[in-house]
Protein backbone atom coordinates (compact mmCIF):
# COMPACT_ATOMS: atom_id res chain seq x y z
CA UNK A 1 0.00 0.00 0.00
CA UNK A 2 2.80 2.44 0.89
CA UNK A 3 4.64 1.51 -2.40
CA UNK A 4 1.53 2.15 -4.48
CA UNK A 5 1.12 5.66 -3.03
CA UNK A 6 4.75 6.60 -3.79
CA UNK A 7 4.51 5.29 -7.40
CA UNK A 8 1.45 7.36 -8.32
CA UNK A 9 3.02 10.50 -6.90
CA UNK A 10 6.18 9.92 -9.04
CA UNK A 11 4.09 9.41 -12.18
CA UNK A 12 2.20 12.63 -11.63
CA UNK A 13 5.44 14.59 -11.26
CA UNK A 14 6.81 13.14 -14.47
CA UNK A 15 3.63 14.19 -16.30
CA UNK A 16 4.06 17.76 -15.19
CA UNK A 17 7.67 18.17 -16.23
CA UNK A 18 7.88 16.10 -19.43
CA UNK A 19 6.04 16.95 -22.72
CA UNK A 20 4.90 13.72 -24.30
CA UNK A 21 6.59 12.72 -27.59
CA UNK A 22 3.40 12.99 -29.67
CA UNK A 23 2.81 16.54 -28.50
CA UNK A 24 6.42 17.54 -29.13
CA UNK A 25 6.31 16.82 -32.85
CA UNK A 26 2.99 18.67 -33.14
CA UNK A 27 4.67 21.66 -31.65
CA UNK A 28 7.55 21.44 -34.12
CA UNK A 29 5.11 21.23 -37.00
CA UNK A 30 3.30 24.29 -35.69
CA UNK A 31 6.60 26.13 -35.44
CA UNK A 32 7.49 25.25 -39.04
CA UNK A 33 4.05 26.34 -40.24
CA UNK A 34 4.35 29.77 -38.65
CA UNK A 35 7.85 30.19 -39.96
CA UNK A 36 6.81 29.27 -43.48
CA UNK A 37 3.87 31.63 -43.29
CA UNK A 38 6.09 34.47 -42.19
CA UNK A 39 8.67 33.80 -44.92
CA UNK A 40 6.00 33.59 -47.62
CA UNK A 41 4.37 36.83 -46.47
CA UNK A 42 7.74 38.51 -46.50
CA UNK A 43 8.50 37.45 -50.05
CA UNK A 44 5.00 38.41 -51.17
CA UNK A 45 5.61 41.91 -49.88
CA UNK A 46 8.97 42.08 -51.67
CA UNK A 47 7.37 40.79 -54.85
CA UNK A 48 4.51 43.30 -54.68
CA UNK A 49 6.98 46.09 -54.22
CA UNK A 50 9.03 45.05 -57.27
CA UNK A 51 5.93 44.42 -59.41
CA UNK A 52 4.43 47.80 -58.56
CA UNK A 53 7.63 49.54 -59.64
CA UNK A 54 7.83 47.58 -62.88
CA UNK A 55 4.06 47.66 -63.49
CA UNK A 56 3.81 51.43 -63.37
CA UNK A 57 6.24 51.58 -66.33
CA UNK A 58 4.51 48.71 -68.14
CA UNK A 59 1.13 50.41 -67.78
CA UNK A 60 2.46 53.59 -69.35
CA UNK A 61 4.07 51.58 -72.16
CA UNK A 62 0.92 49.53 -72.80
CA UNK A 63 -1.18 52.69 -72.96
CA UNK A 64 1.25 54.30 -75.39
CA UNK A 65 1.32 51.17 -77.57
CA UNK A 66 -2.46 50.95 -77.60
CA UNK A 67 -2.75 54.66 -78.47
CA UNK A 68 -0.15 54.41 -81.22
CA UNK A 69 -1.80 51.31 -82.76
CA UNK A 70 -5.24 52.90 -82.97
CA UNK A 71 -3.75 56.17 -84.19
CA UNK A 72 -1.68 54.37 -86.83
CA UNK A 73 -4.93 52.87 -88.18
CA UNK A 74 -6.37 56.36 -88.59
CA UNK A 75 -3.09 57.74 -89.98
CA UNK A 76 -2.99 54.88 -92.51
CA UNK A 77 -6.47 55.91 -93.54
CA UNK A 78 -5.22 59.38 -94.47
CA UNK A 79 -2.64 57.75 -96.76
CA UNK A 80 -5.18 55.47 -98.47
CA UNK A 81 -6.04 56.15 -102.15
CA UNK A 82 -9.52 57.54 -101.30
CA UNK A 83 -8.14 60.25 -99.02
CA UNK A 84 -4.54 60.95 -100.00
CA UNK A 85 -3.49 64.24 -101.52
CA UNK A 86 -2.36 64.55 -105.13
CA UNK A 87 0.97 66.06 -104.06
CA UNK A 88 3.40 63.78 -102.25
CA UNK A 89 2.39 64.60 -98.69
CA UNK A 90 1.97 62.10 -95.90
CA UNK A 91 -0.95 62.38 -93.48
CA UNK A 92 -2.74 64.68 -95.92
CA UNK A 93 -6.41 64.40 -96.96
CA UNK A 94 -7.68 65.73 -100.28
CA UNK A 95 -10.99 67.43 -99.52
CA UNK A 96 -11.91 67.63 -103.21
CA UNK A 97 -12.01 63.80 -103.20
CA UNK A 98 -13.50 63.64 -99.73
CA UNK A 99 -16.61 65.59 -100.75
CA UNK A 100 -17.25 62.89 -103.39
CA UNK A 101 -16.96 60.19 -100.73
CA UNK A 102 -19.61 61.79 -98.54
CA UNK A 103 -22.79 59.77 -98.75
CA UNK A 104 -21.30 57.02 -100.92
CA UNK A 105 -23.02 53.93 -99.57
CA UNK A 106 -20.51 51.54 -101.13
CA UNK A 107 -17.81 52.47 -98.62
CA UNK A 108 -19.90 51.75 -95.52
CA UNK A 109 -18.73 48.15 -95.31
CA UNK A 110 -15.23 48.62 -96.65
CA UNK A 111 -13.43 50.01 -93.64
CA UNK A 112 -13.55 48.36 -90.20
CA UNK A 113 -14.89 51.54 -88.57
CA UNK A 114 -18.49 52.06 -87.53
CA UNK A 115 -18.32 55.74 -88.52
CA UNK A 116 -15.92 57.97 -90.40
CA UNK A 117 -15.95 61.75 -90.22
CA UNK A 118 -13.59 64.63 -90.78
CA UNK A 119 -13.92 67.81 -88.74
CA UNK A 120 -12.47 71.01 -90.16
CA UNK A 121 -10.80 73.56 -87.90
CA UNK A 122 -13.93 75.72 -88.11
CA UNK A 123 -15.77 72.94 -86.30
CA UNK A 124 -13.27 72.38 -83.48
CA UNK A 125 -15.11 74.72 -81.11
CA UNK A 126 -18.55 73.40 -81.93
CA UNK A 127 -20.59 70.47 -80.72
CA UNK A 128 -21.43 68.00 -83.49
CA UNK A 129 -25.07 69.08 -83.58
CA UNK A 130 -23.98 72.68 -84.29
CA UNK A 131 -21.60 71.75 -87.10
CA UNK A 132 -22.62 72.35 -90.67
CA UNK A 133 -22.43 69.09 -92.64
CA UNK A 134 -20.57 69.33 -95.92
CA UNK A 135 -22.45 68.74 -99.15
CA UNK A 136 -21.64 69.51 -102.77
CA UNK A 137 -23.77 72.66 -102.48
CA UNK A 138 -22.04 74.27 -99.46
CA UNK A 139 -18.50 72.89 -99.95
CA UNK A 140 -15.99 74.20 -98.81
CA UNK A 141 -17.87 76.50 -96.41
CA UNK A 142 -18.87 73.83 -93.93
CA UNK A 143 -17.58 72.17 -90.76
CA UNK A 144 -17.81 68.39 -90.96
CA UNK A 145 -17.59 65.74 -93.65
CA UNK A 146 -19.62 62.66 -92.68
CA UNK A 147 -18.33 59.89 -94.93
CA UNK A 148 -20.66 57.41 -93.27
CA UNK A 149 -22.20 56.64 -89.89
CA UNK A 150 -23.65 53.22 -89.13
CA UNK A 151 -25.18 54.68 -85.95
CA UNK A 152 -24.20 51.84 -83.65
CA UNK A 153 -25.20 51.75 -79.95
CA UNK A 154 -21.77 51.98 -78.33
CA UNK A 155 -18.91 53.61 -80.12
CA UNK A 156 -15.44 54.78 -79.22
CA UNK A 157 -14.01 57.60 -81.33
CA UNK A 158 -10.36 57.72 -82.36
CA UNK A 159 -9.15 60.95 -83.88
CA UNK A 160 -5.98 62.14 -85.50
CA UNK A 161 -4.86 65.48 -86.86
CA UNK A 162 -4.43 65.61 -90.61
CA UNK A 163 -3.65 68.30 -93.15
CA UNK A 164 -6.78 68.98 -95.26
CA UNK A 165 -5.94 70.32 -98.70
CA UNK A 166 -8.05 71.56 -101.60
CA UNK A 167 -7.56 73.48 -104.82
CA UNK A 168 -8.06 77.22 -104.50
CA UNK A 169 -8.09 79.97 -107.12
CA UNK A 170 -6.57 83.37 -106.46
CA UNK A 171 -5.12 85.91 -108.89
CA UNK A 172 -5.82 83.44 -111.74
CA UNK A 173 -3.48 80.95 -110.12
CA UNK A 174 -4.64 77.60 -108.84
CA UNK A 175 -2.80 76.42 -105.75
CA UNK A 176 -3.17 73.93 -102.89
CA UNK A 177 -4.65 75.48 -99.78
CA UNK A 178 -4.16 73.36 -96.68
CA UNK A 179 -5.54 73.63 -93.17
CA UNK A 180 -5.68 71.49 -90.03
CA UNK A 181 -8.50 69.01 -89.59
CA UNK A 182 -9.32 65.97 -87.48
CA UNK A 183 -10.10 62.59 -88.94
CA UNK A 184 -12.47 60.85 -86.54
CA UNK A 185 -13.06 57.12 -86.82
CA UNK A 186 -15.52 55.30 -84.61
CA UNK A 187 -15.07 51.71 -83.48
CA UNK A 188 -18.01 49.74 -82.20
CA UNK A 189 -17.77 48.47 -78.64
CA UNK A 190 -19.60 45.20 -78.49
CA UNK A 191 -20.99 44.04 -75.15
CA UNK A 192 -20.52 40.46 -73.96
CA UNK A 193 -22.78 38.10 -75.84
CA UNK A 194 -23.27 40.50 -78.78
CA UNK A 195 -22.30 39.28 -82.27
Amino acid sequence: MKQKKSNSRFNFEIKLTKIPKSKRSQLKIQEMAFMLLAVVLFFILVGLFIVSVIYSNLYKEANLISESRTLSLVTNLADSPEFSCSTYKSNCVDSDKLISLVGRKTYENFWPFSSLKLVKSTGFDKAEEEMLKCTIANYPNCDIFVVYDREVKNEKAISSFVALCRKELENEYTYDKCEIAKLVAGTEIKEQGER
Binding site: N76, S84, T87, S90, S100, R104, N109, K167, L169, Y175
Partner: protein
Protein backbone atom coordinates in the same frame (compact mmCIF):
# COMPACT_ATOMS: atom_id res chain seq x y z
CA UNK B 1 -11.81 -15.48 -42.39
CA UNK B 2 -8.04 -15.45 -41.95
CA UNK B 3 -7.54 -18.37 -44.28
CA UNK B 4 -9.60 -17.08 -47.26
CA UNK B 5 -7.61 -17.01 -50.52
CA UNK B 6 -10.05 -14.75 -52.42
CA UNK B 7 -10.45 -10.92 -52.23
CA UNK B 8 -13.65 -9.87 -50.67
CA UNK B 9 -15.33 -7.18 -52.68
CA UNK B 10 -18.28 -5.76 -50.97
CA UNK B 11 -20.95 -3.71 -52.69
CA UNK B 12 -19.47 -0.38 -51.57
CA UNK B 13 -16.18 -1.20 -53.33
CA UNK B 14 -17.94 -2.12 -56.54
CA UNK B 15 -20.04 1.04 -56.38
CA UNK B 16 -16.99 3.19 -55.76
CA UNK B 17 -15.07 1.69 -58.70
CA UNK B 18 -17.94 1.98 -61.15
CA UNK B 19 -19.00 5.49 -60.18
CA UNK B 20 -15.39 6.66 -59.87
CA UNK B 21 -14.57 5.31 -63.31
CA UNK B 22 -17.60 7.01 -64.78
CA UNK B 23 -16.74 10.35 -63.16
CA UNK B 24 -13.15 10.02 -64.38
CA UNK B 25 -14.35 9.31 -67.91
CA UNK B 26 -16.65 12.36 -67.81
CA UNK B 27 -13.83 14.53 -66.50
CA UNK B 28 -11.40 13.45 -69.24
CA UNK B 29 -14.04 13.90 -71.94
CA UNK B 30 -15.00 17.36 -70.67
CA UNK B 31 -11.38 18.49 -70.46
CA UNK B 32 -10.74 17.20 -73.94
CA UNK B 33 -13.76 19.14 -75.20
CA UNK B 34 -12.62 22.23 -73.32
CA UNK B 35 -9.10 21.98 -74.73
CA UNK B 36 -10.43 21.64 -78.27
CA UNK B 37 -12.76 24.63 -77.82
CA UNK B 38 -9.96 26.63 -76.25
CA UNK B 39 -7.70 25.67 -79.13
CA UNK B 40 -10.25 26.84 -81.66
CA UNK B 41 -10.69 30.12 -79.77
CA UNK B 42 -6.94 30.56 -79.62
CA UNK B 43 -6.53 29.88 -83.34
CA UNK B 44 -9.33 32.31 -84.17
CA UNK B 45 -7.66 34.98 -82.03
CA UNK B 46 -4.33 34.29 -83.75
CA UNK B 47 -5.93 34.69 -87.17
CA UNK B 48 -7.40 38.03 -86.00
CA UNK B 49 -3.95 39.12 -84.80
CA UNK B 50 -2.48 38.14 -88.17
CA UNK B 51 -5.00 40.45 -89.85
CA UNK B 52 -3.93 43.26 -87.50
CA UNK B 53 -0.30 42.60 -88.51
CA UNK B 54 -1.27 43.51 -92.07
CA UNK B 55 -2.00 47.12 -91.00
CA UNK B 56 1.64 48.31 -91.03
CA UNK B 57 2.01 46.94 -94.57
CA UNK B 58 0.29 50.05 -95.99
CA UNK B 59 2.99 51.63 -98.14
CA UNK B 60 1.71 55.22 -98.06
CA UNK B 61 4.34 57.14 -100.02
CA UNK B 62 6.92 54.33 -99.88
CA UNK B 63 7.70 52.12 -102.86
CA UNK B 64 7.44 48.97 -100.80
CA UNK B 65 7.56 47.51 -97.32
CA UNK B 66 8.52 44.14 -95.94
CA UNK B 67 8.27 42.31 -92.67
CA UNK B 68 8.34 38.85 -91.15
CA UNK B 69 6.15 36.81 -88.82
CA UNK B 70 7.70 34.01 -86.79
CA UNK B 71 5.73 31.36 -84.94
CA UNK B 72 6.93 29.11 -82.14
CA UNK B 73 5.47 26.01 -83.74
CA UNK B 74 4.74 24.68 -87.20
CA UNK B 75 1.58 26.39 -88.41
CA UNK B 76 -0.90 26.27 -91.24
CA UNK B 77 -2.59 29.42 -92.50
CA UNK B 78 -5.55 29.08 -94.86
CA UNK B 79 -6.68 31.78 -97.28
CA UNK B 80 -9.62 32.20 -99.57
CA UNK B 81 -11.11 34.97 -101.70
CA UNK B 82 -14.54 35.84 -103.01
CA UNK B 83 -15.20 38.82 -105.28
CA UNK B 84 -18.98 38.34 -105.29
CA UNK B 85 -19.65 38.77 -101.58
CA UNK B 86 -19.58 42.30 -100.08
CA UNK B 87 -19.93 43.98 -103.47
CA UNK B 88 -18.26 45.85 -104.96
CA UNK B 89 -15.09 45.22 -102.94
CA UNK B 90 -15.30 41.48 -102.30
CA UNK B 91 -13.72 39.78 -99.34
CA UNK B 92 -10.86 37.54 -98.31
CA UNK B 93 -10.69 35.26 -95.31
CA UNK B 94 -7.88 33.85 -93.24
CA UNK B 95 -7.81 31.04 -90.68
CA UNK B 96 -5.11 29.40 -88.64
CA UNK B 97 -4.04 26.19 -86.97
CA UNK B 98 -0.84 24.86 -85.47
CA UNK B 99 0.83 21.58 -84.61
CA UNK B 100 -0.18 20.13 -81.28
CA UNK B 101 0.98 16.97 -79.49
CA UNK B 102 1.75 13.98 -81.64
CA UNK B 103 2.70 15.97 -84.77
CA UNK B 104 -0.99 16.51 -85.60
CA UNK B 105 -2.47 19.87 -86.51
CA UNK B 106 -5.29 21.20 -84.37
CA UNK B 107 -8.70 21.98 -85.82
CA UNK B 108 -8.69 25.13 -87.97
CA UNK B 109 -9.99 28.22 -86.18
CA UNK B 110 -12.85 30.42 -87.40
CA UNK B 111 -12.23 32.38 -90.57
CA UNK B 112 -11.55 36.08 -90.15
CA UNK B 113 -12.68 38.43 -92.93
CA UNK B 114 -10.48 40.98 -94.67
CA UNK B 115 -12.40 43.49 -96.76
CA UNK B 116 -10.02 46.42 -97.17
CA UNK B 117 -6.80 44.57 -98.05
CA UNK B 118 -5.61 42.68 -101.11
CA UNK B 119 -3.55 39.70 -100.01
CA UNK B 120 -1.84 37.58 -102.64
CA UNK B 121 -0.83 34.20 -101.29
CA UNK B 122 -1.17 30.46 -101.86
CA UNK B 123 -4.38 28.91 -100.50
CA UNK B 124 -2.40 27.16 -97.78
CA UNK B 125 0.91 28.09 -96.24
CA UNK B 126 2.70 25.73 -93.92
CA UNK B 127 5.73 26.61 -91.86
CA UNK B 128 7.14 28.58 -88.97
CA UNK B 129 8.09 31.75 -90.74
CA UNK B 130 6.04 33.98 -92.99
CA UNK B 131 7.46 36.68 -95.21
CA UNK B 132 5.25 39.67 -96.00
CA UNK B 133 5.95 42.44 -98.42
CA UNK B 134 3.77 45.06 -100.02
CA UNK B 135 3.95 47.06 -103.22
CA UNK B 136 1.65 49.91 -104.26
CA UNK B 137 -0.47 49.24 -107.34
CA UNK B 138 -1.02 52.15 -109.71
CA UNK B 139 -3.38 52.18 -112.67
CA UNK B 140 -2.60 55.04 -113.27
CA UNK B 141 -3.52 56.47 -109.84
CA UNK B 142 -2.93 54.38 -106.74
CA UNK B 143 -5.60 51.71 -106.42
CA UNK B 144 -4.41 49.76 -103.39
CA UNK B 145 -1.44 48.07 -101.79
CA UNK B 146 -0.66 44.53 -102.90
CA UNK B 147 0.27 42.49 -99.84
CA UNK B 148 2.21 39.38 -100.76
CA UNK B 149 2.69 36.57 -98.28
CA UNK B 150 4.95 33.56 -98.71
CA UNK B 151 6.60 30.98 -96.51
CA UNK B 152 10.19 31.76 -95.59
CA UNK B 153 10.80 28.05 -95.15
CA UNK B 154 10.67 27.64 -98.95
CA UNK B 155 13.23 29.33 -101.16
CA UNK B 156 12.49 30.96 -104.46
CA UNK B 157 15.31 30.75 -107.00
CA UNK B 158 15.13 33.58 -109.55
CA UNK B 159 17.04 32.95 -112.79
CA UNK B 160 17.91 35.55 -115.45
CA UNK B 161 16.24 38.28 -113.43
CA UNK B 162 16.10 41.76 -115.00
CA UNK B 163 18.11 44.34 -113.04
CA UNK B 164 15.09 46.45 -112.05
CA UNK B 165 13.28 43.49 -110.51
CA UNK B 166 16.45 42.26 -108.82
CA UNK B 167 17.03 45.68 -107.26
CA UNK B 168 13.41 45.85 -106.13
CA UNK B 169 13.66 42.51 -104.35
CA UNK B 170 17.06 43.30 -102.82
CA UNK B 171 15.72 46.60 -101.47
CA UNK B 172 12.95 44.67 -99.71
CA UNK B 173 15.48 42.36 -97.99
CA UNK B 174 13.66 39.19 -98.92
CA UNK B 175 16.33 36.62 -98.10
CA UNK B 176 14.28 33.61 -99.15
CA UNK B 177 14.48 34.89 -102.75
CA UNK B 178 17.84 33.85 -104.11
CA UNK B 179 19.56 34.82 -107.35
CA UNK B 180 21.70 31.77 -108.15
CA UNK B 181 24.82 31.97 -110.24
CA UNK B 182 28.03 29.96 -110.60
CA UNK B 183 28.93 30.58 -106.94
CA UNK B 184 25.49 30.75 -105.30
CA UNK B 185 23.45 27.57 -105.36
CA UNK B 186 19.73 27.39 -104.70
CA UNK B 187 17.19 24.69 -104.03
CA UNK B 188 13.52 25.57 -104.00
CA UNK B 189 10.88 26.84 -106.38
CA UNK B 190 12.54 27.81 -109.68
CA UNK B 191 11.36 31.07 -111.22
CA UNK B 192 12.70 31.90 -114.68
CA UNK B 193 12.51 35.07 -116.70
CA UNK B 194 12.62 33.13 -119.93
CA UNK B 195 10.78 30.32 -121.66
CA UNK B 196 13.08 27.74 -120.06
CA UNK B 197 11.00 24.60 -119.67
CA UNK B 198 12.85 23.39 -116.56
CA UNK B 199 11.37 26.02 -114.31
CA UNK B 200 8.37 25.74 -111.99
CA UNK B 201 7.31 29.33 -112.73
CA UNK B 202 8.03 31.06 -116.04
CA UNK B 203 7.67 34.78 -116.59
CA UNK B 204 7.13 35.95 -120.14
CA UNK B 205 7.45 39.66 -120.86
CA UNK B 206 5.29 41.16 -123.59
CA UNK B 207 6.29 44.83 -123.48
CA UNK B 208 8.16 45.62 -126.67
CA UNK B 209 7.39 49.26 -127.54
CA UNK B 210 9.70 52.20 -126.84
CA UNK B 211 7.79 53.38 -123.77
CA UNK B 212 8.69 50.17 -121.87
CA UNK B 213 11.37 50.28 -119.19
CA UNK B 214 11.97 46.60 -119.86
CA UNK B 215 10.20 43.66 -121.52
CA UNK B 216 8.64 42.65 -118.23
CA UNK B 217 6.54 45.80 -117.67
CA UNK B 218 3.62 43.60 -118.52
CA UNK B 219 3.22 39.99 -119.59
CA UNK B 220 2.17 36.76 -117.98
CA UNK B 221 3.36 34.28 -115.35
CA UNK B 222 3.03 30.66 -116.35
CA UNK B 223 2.54 28.02 -113.65
CA UNK B 224 2.03 24.67 -115.29
CA UNK B 225 -0.78 25.19 -117.74
CA UNK B 226 -2.15 28.33 -116.08
CA UNK B 227 -1.29 31.80 -117.30
CA UNK B 228 -1.68 34.75 -114.95
CA UNK B 229 -1.43 38.08 -116.77
CA UNK B 230 0.10 41.01 -114.94
CA UNK B 231 0.97 44.68 -115.31
CA UNK B 232 3.73 46.41 -113.34
CA UNK B 233 4.06 45.22 -109.73
CA UNK B 234 1.32 42.61 -110.12
CA UNK B 235 4.20 40.43 -111.33
CA UNK B 236 5.09 39.70 -107.70
CA UNK B 237 1.49 38.91 -106.88
CA UNK B 238 1.31 36.49 -109.79
CA UNK B 239 4.52 34.70 -108.77
CA UNK B 240 3.62 34.16 -105.11
CA UNK B 241 -0.13 33.72 -105.29
CA UNK B 242 -2.36 30.81 -106.23
CA UNK B 243 -4.22 31.41 -109.49
CA UNK B 244 -7.59 31.33 -107.72
CA UNK B 245 -6.67 34.08 -105.25
CA UNK B 246 -4.84 36.07 -107.95
CA UNK B 247 -7.80 36.12 -110.34
CA UNK B 248 -10.23 36.91 -107.52
CA UNK B 249 -8.11 39.82 -106.28
CA UNK B 250 -7.70 41.18 -109.82
CA UNK B 251 -11.50 41.42 -110.02
CA UNK B 252 -11.59 43.10 -106.59
CA UNK B 253 -8.90 45.58 -107.67
CA UNK B 254 -10.81 46.42 -110.82
CA UNK B 255 -13.95 47.09 -108.76
CA UNK B 256 -11.87 49.42 -106.59
CA UNK B 257 -10.51 51.11 -109.72
CA UNK B 258 -14.09 51.68 -110.82
CA UNK B 259 -15.04 53.26 -107.48
CA UNK B 260 -11.93 55.44 -107.37
CA UNK B 261 -12.53 56.46 -110.98
CA UNK B 262 -15.96 57.71 -109.92
CA UNK B 263 -14.40 59.74 -107.11
CA UNK B 264 -11.88 61.29 -109.49
CA UNK B 265 -14.59 62.14 -112.00
CA UNK B 266 -16.44 64.01 -109.22
CA UNK B 267 -13.20 65.72 -108.29
CA UNK B 268 -12.94 67.02 -111.85
CA UNK B 269 -16.32 68.79 -111.35
CA UNK B 270 -15.07 70.34 -108.10
CA UNK B 271 -11.72 71.59 -109.41
CA UNK B 272 -13.32 73.03 -112.53
CA UNK B 273 -14.73 75.69 -110.17
CA UNK B 274 -11.13 76.59 -109.30
CA UNK B 275 -9.78 77.22 -112.77
CA UNK B 276 -8.72 73.65 -113.57
CA UNK B 277 -9.98 72.00 -116.74
CA UNK B 278 -8.73 68.42 -116.95
CA UNK B 279 -9.41 66.62 -120.21
CA UNK B 280 -8.97 63.04 -119.16
CA UNK B 281 -12.61 62.33 -118.27
CA UNK B 282 -13.44 60.46 -121.48
CA UNK B 283 -10.44 58.17 -121.28
CA UNK B 284 -11.09 57.60 -117.58
CA UNK B 285 -14.67 56.55 -118.28
CA UNK B 286 -13.49 54.15 -121.00
CA UNK B 287 -10.99 52.63 -118.59
CA UNK B 288 -13.58 52.31 -115.86
CA UNK B 289 -15.96 50.51 -118.21
CA UNK B 290 -13.24 48.10 -119.30
CA UNK B 291 -12.32 47.45 -115.68
CA UNK B 292 -15.96 46.74 -114.83
CA UNK B 293 -16.23 44.21 -117.64
CA UNK B 294 -12.97 42.47 -116.80
CA UNK B 295 -13.46 38.74 -116.66
CA UNK B 296 -9.96 37.55 -115.87
CA UNK B 297 -6.40 38.81 -115.74
CA UNK B 298 -6.12 38.26 -119.53
CA UNK B 299 -8.07 41.51 -120.02
CA UNK B 300 -5.59 43.57 -117.98
CA UNK B 301 -3.47 44.11 -121.06
CA UNK B 302 -6.32 46.07 -122.69
CA UNK B 303 -6.20 48.65 -119.91
CA UNK B 304 -2.54 49.50 -120.39
CA UNK B 305 -3.04 51.88 -123.31
CA UNK B 306 -5.74 53.89 -121.47
CA UNK B 307 -3.57 53.99 -118.34
CA UNK B 308 -0.63 55.51 -120.21
CA UNK B 309 -2.78 58.08 -121.98
CA UNK B 310 -4.53 59.22 -118.79
CA UNK B 311 -1.15 59.51 -117.06
CA UNK B 312 0.25 61.61 -119.88
CA UNK B 313 -2.74 63.99 -119.85
CA UNK B 314 -2.48 64.37 -116.06
CA UNK B 315 1.27 65.10 -116.23
CA UNK B 316 0.82 67.72 -118.95
CA UNK B 317 -2.04 69.46 -117.13
CA UNK B 318 -1.94 73.05 -115.85
CA UNK B 319 0.36 73.65 -112.86
CA UNK B 320 -1.50 73.03 -109.65
CA UNK B 321 -4.29 71.20 -111.45
CA UNK B 322 -3.12 67.60 -111.39
CA UNK B 323 -5.97 65.28 -110.65
CA UNK B 324 -3.79 62.72 -108.82
Amino acid sequence: MKNKKAIEMGFNWLFAIIVGGFILFLAIYASGKFIRTSEKTLYTETAAKLVVLLDPMETGLASGKSSEINFNKETKTFYDCNSLINKPFGRQRISFSEKTFGEKYGEEGEKISIKDRYVFVENLIEGRRLSLFSKPFFMPFKIADLIIISSKDNNYCFYDTPEEIKKDIEDLNLDHIIFPNSTIKCSGTKVCFSKNSKCDIKIIGMCEDSSCENDYDYGYVQKGKEKLYYVNDLIYAAIFSSSEIYECNIKRLMSKLNELGGIYLNKVNIIERKGCYPTLQTKLIIMMNKAKELDSSDDLIFLIEQTKEIDQINEEGKTGCRLY
